[in-house]
Assembly symmetry: C2
Homo-oligomer: 392 residues x 2
């Protein structure tokens, strides 16, 4: 096989654009100097657009989990009751963090592969007024579901003072987020998904209501104390040493997103989702989620007439094409294709064409080219539609 | 469109593998020191395998044309008669260089898009015993023809003392070259094609017979005097300043080729050619060359029911996919797809899938997915065949 060649199509980390690779190799500078402040100043307004908020977006040197923990320790206390809407593995992550802080967690279970129902959560919250916060994932990476977090927040706020805290790690910057308009109280994301960076940077934004809760909380820890990040960010700085090369990269990523136009970025992700889903339907490989629940960033497939792991091994061995397997209860049962960040519709066509070959090799009866053709058809329809709408 | 994304599928320059990009960013070192000698020592045996020769392969800092000129000025003199077998634009390049040196050039014309016939050249050389050298291109980049240069050399040597001088720029390292076995006298190539490097390095090897001619030539110029390169190479050095970062890259490229295995590299290129040709046949887009003449590194298409330039504009505009147009008399009439170097079968499937969409957009009636399916079928057949043969 061609040496030094790979096709990385897992739901994060994702490939890094060359311009971002280059930016990250810039020489080190002092992180307390003017140059770093300039970068932070440049980053701030652009990150706000990704979050859909007027609030400053704080940057933590850490993985997404550090930000989830920050979202928890800053607003709830030992003994507080919270509700975790668990739609998969990453919903459970919230529970584990809460348990480490002796927080009284209740899990609201949603069948894996299905999006949460805002009205059902609303009814539960209404019946349990002691709930201080409701946690949910925007995109549930382990299943490929995009949860309607905007409608969730609206529903919860109608009946409760609980904060709505959202893990947006595996979709933000690939899917539109309107934090302020939707009433999300804390939103968290990481670097290594649709933001096209290596892991190591986490992002958190908090609503005015969340800030009131945070400020009235006397025990916010130290490294994850969000007021430190907020106060330093106001001075274009960070409370602790920033991952400087990741900031260089982030500055470039945000410039690239602006060049493409966020609307176009989101449309590209929807297109890639729809191409992928149409292809697997044409190939008779069952999708794990309903169309209306499918995330624009990751698609899960649940084969019935071939082995998911044998298929993953085949595409890895023949093409060095990597997709993710299932996690926890879904281990060995599904495979998950990431299509986010530095991924174009032509990359979708590429992995589909390679996967068709692998399907034949693992013994599935398909018509070669049928999945690609279905995806091409979707491409033609959606781009024509967008041209009619006058998109750039 | 996704920012900072491109698909470069022209017949050179070609994409650079990431490991080679990284190698080229190594810090500068003194080019007269031990470290550079070590690199040259490491490169030498591996380059010989690419050329299929026991002779040392000289490295010039210059483009392929500098090596073509070196091949000429070192062996022929003003007034000498030479034959240029012209199968396209790059055959003509030899003529222009010869004319600059007042060499008596005769062109042996072969219809563009067709490979040379060794027997016809042999008859001509036999009838013109004053011919001192016969020039030909191995892969004629402008048409996508792979000339049978081995059979040409054998045929010429049967009837003449003329040296056989081959331009291998657009195929070597993607197509097997057996310089010694075939009796090629001078072979030239460049960095920016199947060798996966940026342009700026040229390579020349000469047979023992050619060396006798070179040594007896009193006027070899200065920068292009091959004896200088040979004598320095024997001491693991270069006569003039080498393009050091390209040497760093070359060392990595040769290591990558060795990792894949040259036999596998050549099989991959034949596979990519056959996939491409099968696809365009299925799509009813006429190939410009016969199957037996088609190069494993570049394929030319001559559309009859759509405009080649409109098609190129479409794939560029929609996908940032670049293929080459026609040159000279073929301008606007053909388009040329490069599939060499850092290009995998999955990249072939990718450009074919994108091109099918573009064919629809320029108004050609095709069945979406049909070209991809034909290429997938070829992939399955050839890889199965190679597995049966026990290839690694």
């Amino acid at each position: 096989m061609l040496t030094d060649y790979q096709l990385l199509r897992i739901p994060g980390p994702t490939p890094i654009p060359p311009s971002v690779e280059r930016a990250m190799t810039k020489p080190m500078i002092g992180h307390r100097g003017n140059e770093t402040s300039q970068i932070i100043q440049n980053i701030k307004p652009k990150l706000k657009k990704v979050f859909g908020t007027e609030q400053d977006v704080m940057m933590l040197t850490g993985s997404g989990t550090s930000c989830l923990e920050a979202a928890i320790v800053n607003v709830v206390h030992p003994g507080d009751k919270v509700l975790v809407v668990a739609t998969g593995v990453f919903g459970n992550r919230f529970t584990k963090i809460c348990e480490a802080y002796q927080i009284d967690v209740e899990e609201f279970h949603v069948e894996w592969g299905t999006a949460l129902d805002p009205e059902a959560v609303k009814a539960h919250v209404q019946a349990n007024p002691e709930i201080k916060a409701v946690f949910s994932t925007y995109c549930e990476t382990s299943t490929g579901v995009l949860n309607p977090v905007g409608r969730l927040a609206q529903a919860v706020h109608e009946v409760s003072e609980a904060l709505v805290i959202i893990d947006g790690v595996s979709c933000m910057a690939g899917v539109e987020t309107k934090m302020d308009e939707w009433g999300l109280d804390i939103v968290v994301t990481g670097a290594q998904k649709a933001l096209m960076l290596p892991a190591g940077l986490g992002f958190v934004a908090a609503s005015e209501r969340a800030w009131k809760v945070i400020e009235s909380n006397p025990k916010r820890g130290f490294y994850l104390d969000l007021t430190k990040y907020r106060d330093n960010l106001a001075k274009d700085s960070t409370p602790f040493t920033p991952a400087l090369s990741l900031l260089f990269g982030l500055e470039q990523v945000l410039e690239n997103l602006e060049t493409e136009g966020l609307e176009n970025v989101y449309a590209r992700h929807r297109l890639m989702r729809d191409m992928t889903r149409a292809a697997f339907k044409a190939l008779d490989v069952p999708l794990f989620t309903k169309d209306e629940d499918g995330s624009p960033t990751v698609t899960s497939l649940k084969p019935i007439d071939f082995d998911a792991e044998a298929f993953r091994k085949e595409i890895k061995g023949s093409f060095n094409l990597t997709v993710a397997g299932g996690q926890a209860d879904l281990k060995g049962k599904i495979f998950r294709v990431g299509h986010m960040g530095y991924c174009a519709p032509t990359d979708v066509l590429q992995y589909l064409a390679a996967m068709e070959i692998a399907l034949v090799k693992v013994g599935k009866k398909i018509q070669l080219g049928a999945g690609v053709a279905a995806a091409q058809q979707v491409y033609l329809e959606q781009t024509q539609q967008r041209e009619l709408e006058g998109a750039k």
